[in-house]
Symmetry: C2
Subunit: 252 residues, 2 copies
């Protein structure tokens, strides 16, 4: 039996959002038709990933995350998703993979970034120039940039000033989305919308919402006629595809 495992807690609401996306994208008419999903949301022990990538702490969150994945495997999970873009930077994700290998894990860990790029290739073949709204950790380590390049896309480069603003829209303790997930502030929304305008001026044809908190503030499929790509939704679909492909809703 396949069970989908979710590494929750990064952040806590993102774990639930991934599960909700799985349920939304499943062909189901009643409770019993839904897929088996286990979420472990143990945020206390997972160091902030942007702080690690910026060198402000030396503890790689990969160790705590790989322990959670092994616990999920122990609880019967066969396929895993981590709904956090920053966790997919190679300095973290490669260490998670190495730790799992060392422990003899058989689990299939899905790479959200690869799934997003594959999704764009399938569903938006006409798109070439792609921008990414993300935290500074995801940005500085080129999580999307390198893989977009490798897949033949033309990733948009934006200024450090704009990046700093976008990061604040997520993390600022006064107005950031993380502080007000229930009800994102007008200020955070405006920064993100202005970011998309700037991306458009730079030629962007698609924008990846490259932090799992951003769709709470921008719950749209299009903005300024540009498709907004939601990695949590795409990862949800991929987890279904990799466990119960016959249950995946075909139409987007």
């Amino acid at each position: 039996m396949e069970i989908i495992g979710i590494v929750g807690g990064v952040g806590p609401y993102a774990g639930l959002d991934l599960a909700r996306n799985i349920f939304n994208e499943t062909i189901a008419g009643k409770d019993q038709d839904h897929l088996p999903v286990t979420i472990m949301s143990i945020p206390e022990k997972i160091e902030d990933r942007t702080e690690f990538l910026l060198g402000n702490t030396t503890t790689n969150p990969a160790y705590a995350v790989s322990k959670i994945i092994l616990q999920l495997e122990n609880a019967g999970c066969t396929v895993i998703g981590i709904p956090c873009n920053t966790m997919h930077s190679s300095e973290i994700f490669n260490v998670i993979q190495a730790e799992l290998k060392k422990a003899g894990s058989q689990i299939r860990l899905i790479n959200m970034i690869d799934e997003v790029i594959l999704f764009i290739s399938h569903f938006y073949p006409e798109i070439n120039k792609i921008a990414v709204l993300s935290t500074t950790g995801t940005h500085k380590t080129g999580v999307y940039y390198n893989k977009l390049k490798a897949a033949g896309f033309d990733p948009i480069i934006h200024s450090d000033e704009l990046q700093e603003e976008i990061h604040k829209a997520v993390y600022d303790e006064q107005f950031g989305i993380k502080a007000y997930s229930k009800n994102p502030s007008k200020k955070a929304k405006n920064i993100l919308v202005n970011g998309i305008s700037s991306f458009k001026e730079l030629g962007a044809e698609g924008v990846i919402l490259g932090c799992t908190e951003i769709p709470y503030a921008l719950p749209y499929k299009f903005l300024q006629h540009i498709p907004l790509l939601n990695p949590t939704q795409i990862l949800g679909r991929s987890l279904i595809y990799h466990s119960y492909p016959e249950k995946l809703v075909k139409k987007l």
Copy 2:
């Protein structure tokens, strides 16, 4: 270390909704401040509880649920919530408790119904006449009725015709909330709002939203000046109280 365990899948969205309520009711400024929560959503093996209570199937869902609770305990959980009112009917809940005891479980299983009644006693001491919007399974087995009586409240009795309508608002495959959790139908909402009007005519001073799907259609604290009591929110608060009481948001 305390870990909160959630029996998900009954229904799948209710499991997420309970976790969201826990996060919303926790004093937290960043990801790491949030409480450890594990959700197992394995709906396939859990028989429909109303069908069992109405005698349409002989498989008591208590056996599948107690197995999931033991798996949660095995994964480190110390306190458990089941976000489904119907599962709390004595024909099911007592069997879950007996199965856990038989297996030597040490876990603390919180009874959502008891917590709701305790909550009303604390926060609405002036209320006496209470009505319950619920499925027919919850209604027929007197899940709330008996405990409200025992606690000195005056539970409102409504007609079978009205009950049938309310059940349809949840379960109908054409317009019920279960079929359209993402976007409850106008028809389902109207049935529930009319139900509350009828309850008010019968003297109700408070209404328990006694099915975890109902708050998706009625996300209000008051309707027609009557407080709506949301058991998922109350259970979320109780699970925090029974694990990390210092982290519970005090103001409602």
